[in-house]
């Protein structure tokens, strides 16, 4: 590993309670050089992930294959210094934001890079977007200003139950999609004997829950089920969320008269769907063929 190529680096940092490995995107898939079992350092859990984020990142940052040193030249204002096996040195100025760098940030970075270059030092400015987990590297190649975006290759959190990783979140999202489409299949079967009612799955909502953003799991499109009669939608099933208190997912059923919550609860074999009474959230009724027909106004 050399200090010269931002597109080949893998970087581990702590952001809030998470360990995040950033690396290049759009290149040949490469092995992840950090491992939760060996690279999970113990650190104090924080309540607010944004608080003190910059100090946390600076103190935890590691680049595989490069040695970290305290900056040897204070005049550059860099947070860390990295050295490769050939003794090449790279200074890094770390910025932490909850958004991507803006034009003003690029202007300031350019100024810093030019000053460092005139002092014959290699400096890079690293912008961590902790909201969307991205790392923007700004550097000079000769006199040419360059930008690279590194993405999270792996995200995990140490919990009292062990390692909770991005894969767990992605699996739960997949499972939610499967459960929602499974419910829709069942509804279509229940309605199949009723002339005049058809199901339409052409619409969708974007699922982008906080846990997905925290673990850099891509947004997903979740289908809406519309039950149509005489070209009018008599009921829409709109998935609202997977991670809610007291249930394993919620779909809102919107009819002409009202909106009712449908929640998933675990049973011995999997999950059941329950309709929540609008007047008293504690009253639940099992969602079955009969309940569906009552909702769409069929006898």
């Amino acid at each position: 590993m050399t200090t010269s190529s931002p597109t080949q680096r893998q970087i581990l940092v702590h952001i809030g309670n998470r360990h995040v490995v950033f690396g290049p995107t759009g290149t040949i898939p490469q092995a992840i050089l950090f491992d939760p079992t060996t690279d999970s350092e113990e650190f104090l859990r924080v309540a607010d992930e944004n608080e003190n984020a910059e100090n946390q990142i600076v103190s935890s940052l590691m680049v595989r294959g490069l040695t970290r040193l305290p900056p040897s030249d204070a005049s550059l204002g860099a947070d860390i210094e990295l050295r490769d096996d050939s003794e090449h040195r790279l200074f890094v100025d770390i910025k932490v934001k909850d958004h991507d760098p803006r034009s003003r940030d690029y202007d300031q970075a350019t100024e810093r890079l030019k000053n460092a270059a005139s002092a014959r030092k290699r400096l890079e400015v690293w912008y961590f977007n902790i909201e969307r987990l991205k790392l923007h590297v700004i550097y000079l190649e000769g006199t040419q200003l360059r930008f690279e975006e590194l993405v999270p290759l792996k995200v995990w959190e140490m919990t009292s139950d062990g390692i909770f990783s991005r894969e767990h979140v992605a699996e739960e999202v997949d499972d939610w999609l499967k459960r929602v489409t499974g419910l829709y299949d069942e509804i279509q079967t229940w309605l199949s004997g009723l002339p005049g009612l058809t199901c339409d799955l052409s619409r969708s909502v974007t699922m982008s829950e906080e846990l997905m953003q925290k673990f850099a799991v891509a947004d997903r499109e979740i289908p809406i089920l519309d039950i149509v009669e005489n070209q009018q939608v008599v009921a829409s099933f709109v998935p609202r969320g997977l991670w809610i208190i007291g249930a394993h997912g919620r779909i809102d059923v919107i009819t002409r008269e009202k909106t009712q919550m449908l929640i998933a609860r675990r049973n011995a074999n999997g999950f059941d769907w329950w309709l929540v009474a609008p007047t008293d959230r504690r009253q639940l009724a099992l969602f079955d063929n009969k309940a569906l027909l009552a909702l769409v106004g069929e006898p």
């Binding site: 619409r203 974007t206 906080e210 809406i224 939608v233 919620r250 002409r256």
Partner: protein, 144 residues
């Protein structure tokens, strides 16, 4: 009955209008979902603002009543009464829910989430059912 009831009713009505737009396929689902998220955060913060006001008033009433007592503690209560303005919400919650630590702890956690929501406009999962959550606040106020 407090203003929270009106807030809950207003939320239910506006939320229902958005739902009907969704059912009638008027406009993009993405935009309607964004409206809903904005509506939810706005009513979550409004609900908290109204609840805070009621907590402030209730704490003041309790402090005033205790300051009128005849024990030595009344001097401390009088001191508190003279410095009410600076009394933080969490301390007011301590006074009101002293006898109910479960509710007190739960509100303490909620208040932290509320402070985060006021900055990042993200709704905690504890409050995703805004209507039910507003109702639960109203119940707490009834039990003061």
């Amino acid at each position: 009955m407090s203003r929270l009831v009106d807030t809950q009713r207003a939320y239910d009505r506006i939320s229902q209008l958005l739902d009907q737009e969704m059912r009638n396929r008027k406009g993009s689902t993405t935009e309607l979902e964004r409206f809903r998220q904005t509506l939810d955060v706005a009513f979550y913060l409004l609900g908290w603002a109204q609840f805070e006001y009621l907590v402030r008033k209730e704490a003041e009433d309790q402090i005033e009543a205790k300051a009128k007592g005849h024990t030595v503690e009344r001097h401390a209560w009088n001191y508190l009464k003279a410095n009410l303005k600076g009394l933080a919400v969490r301390l007011r919650l301590d006074i009101i829910f002293h006898g109910n630590p479960v509710v007190r702890n739960s509100l303490d956690k909620d208040y932290t989430l509320r402070n985060e929501a006021a900055h990042d406009y993200k709704l905690p999962k504890e409050a995703k059912d805004i209507s039910g959550w507003l109702k639960s606040l109203e119940k707490l106020v009834d039990d003061f």
